[in-house]
């Protein structure tokens, strides 16, 4: 029985010719003497013969002709999909660890960006109005002018601007008129600052004149007179050019510019005082006294 079992297990190898000569002879001897094993050998051999009738699966030439193209397309498609997955997943952890820029720089950059955005929003949406900005500038440069700015803020923008213009011009003219080369230092005039202020006022005069033409002809003429004098101051070459300073002084006096400025201030003060006395206009505040005439 054991001999049969061992012999039967050799039958497939014998059928496919994989047995060595010695084992094959041994099996042949057993098969010739054992009917059961011989019968099994015959049946298995018959089975293999029947299985030979099955051809290899073959989908046909059309399938094989396009096989490489289909495979190549699929490989390209899957390589593309893999690349996208890698991109979507970001760099691998190893690369993150070895990046050149330290992690804290991203935080710092974010803070700077946030700060810059805050400044931009503040400047764009919460900037002070032009009038207030100018008021601040005048109050910085001249305490006297700053005094009138408080008053001007309560009146109409044009009147306020005109008032500030007169205040600044007056301060400038007083500096020139009171300049005495014999009594004071030749360089006490601080010509660069005066020239710069004059240039600013000349530029502002052009706009003011245009706006005042329709509402206040008297004030417009005063601004025109001032403009000429301011142009002369702006064109002064040196404090030591005494003749030019004298010409400016005579111009101020001949046209009574300072007197006219004082008159304008008084008129404005009275207007504002009257308005403050009227109880019907709650927005108006009592006017403060303007600069001394």
């Amino acid at each position: 029985m054991n001999k049969c079992r061992a012999g039967q297990k050799l039958i497939p190898e014998a059928l496919y010719g994989e047995l060595d000569m010695k084992t094959q002879e041994k099996l042949d001897r057993h098969l010739s003497s054992c009917r059961e094993c011989s019968e099994l050998y015959r049946k298995m051999s018959e089975t293999l013969r029947i299985m030979d009738e099955k051809p290899a699966p073959d989908p046909g030439p059309n399938f094989w002709d396009g096989y490489w193209d289909r495979l190549e397309r699929r490989m390209a498609r899957e390589a593309g999909a893999r690349t996208q997955e890698v991109r979507a997943a970001g760099p691998p952890p190893g690369r993150r660890r070895t990046r050149l820029v330290p992690r804290w720089t991203f935080g710092a950059a974010g803070a700077v960006l946030l700060f810059a955005t805050g400044i931009f929003i503040g400047r764009t949406f919460f900037r002070p109005t032009a009038d207030l900005a100018r008021s601040a500038a005048i109050s910085k440069s001249s305490p006297a002018a700053g005094l009138s700015v408080t008053t001007a803020a309560a009146v109409a923008p044009l009147a306020a601007r005109a008032s500030r213009y007169l205040d600044r011009s007056k301060v400038l003219l007083l500096a020139v008129v009171n300049y005495d080369p014999q009594a004071s230092d030749l360089f006490s005039l601080n010509l660069p600052l005066q020239k710069k202020t004059s240039e600013e006022l000349v530029k502002e005069a052009a706009v003011l004149k245009k706006e005042l033409r329709a509402s206040d002809r008297r004030l417009e003429r005063l601004v025109s007179d001032l403009e000429i004098i301011l142009i002369q101051i702006a064109n002064l070459k040196s404090e030591t050019d005494l003749s030019a300073v004298e010409i400016i002084k005579s111009g101020i006096e001949s046209k009574d510019v300072l007197f006219k400025i004082n008159l304008s201030e008084m008129r404005r003060s009275s207007e504002m005082g009257g308005a403050a006395a009227r109880p019907s206009d709650p927005k108006r505040k009592p006017a403060k006294s303007g600069p001394a005439a």
Partner: protein, 194 residues
């Protein structure tokens, strides 16, 4: 392509020859498809498995040790890919399983006559049915031995089993096929399985 030339394909691929992969596909595509078809019993699945197997070959050709048989290595990739594919496929109860796809048999020889041609078609159908009824490992052992001419050592290497197990699977596969065919009236008698 001779066996030496086929073995040289792997060396060419490892050396970086870009045309070697196409040559390898052309040389092995029928063999790869054949095993994939026998394992999956379906044309679409067989093509899918064969393409995946070739892509695996392309990616991992560098892992092939010099001197190792390309055939066994390639068959092992196809076999494992087919098993993975079968495991991922949805389960159908046998009664509800879809009918097998049409066979790709050679057209019958017109000289045989219609009766003989019909007989051959019937026989091939029965053989296919018998193969479908044995286990995947037994079927792989039989197909590799009978249709792909691999010896038992190569079969063992391909299936990742011992030589003794390969012999056992081959023996059992032939006996089961014998029983199936006998049940269909194609063998002399059924014969008891050992």
């Amino acid at each position: 392509m001779s066996r030496e030339n086929k073995a040289g394909l792997a060396d060419r691929m490892i050396a970086g020859d870009t045309s070697a992969f196409r040559d390898l596909v052309e040389a092995y595509k029928k063999m790869v498809y054949g095993l994939a078809y026998e394992m999956t019993r379906n044309h679409a699945d067989a093509e899918d498995v064969s393409q995946i197997a070739f892509m695996k070959v392309f990616k991992s050709i560098g892992t092939l040790k010099p001197g190792c048989g390309l055939n066994a290595w390639l068959y092992r990739i196809v076999y494992n890919t087919a098993l993975d594919h079968l495991r991922k496929k949805p389960f159908f109860p046998k009664a509800a399983a879809p009918a097998p796809a049409a066979l790709f048999s050679d057209p019958p020889d017109p000289s045989l006559g219609p009766e003989k041609a019909a007989e051959f078609a019937f026989l091939r159908r029965r053989i296919d049915d018998a193969l479908a009824k044995i286990s995947e490992r037994e079927r792989a052992a039989f197909v590799l031995r009978h249709y792909h001419d691999l010896n038992l050592k190569e079969i063992a290497e391909t299936l990742g089993i011992t030589l003794g197990s390969a012999k056992s699977y081959l023996f059992r596969s032939i006996r089961k096929l014998q029983k199936e065919l006998a049940g269909m009236g194609l063998c002399l008698d059924k014969g008891d399985l050992l």
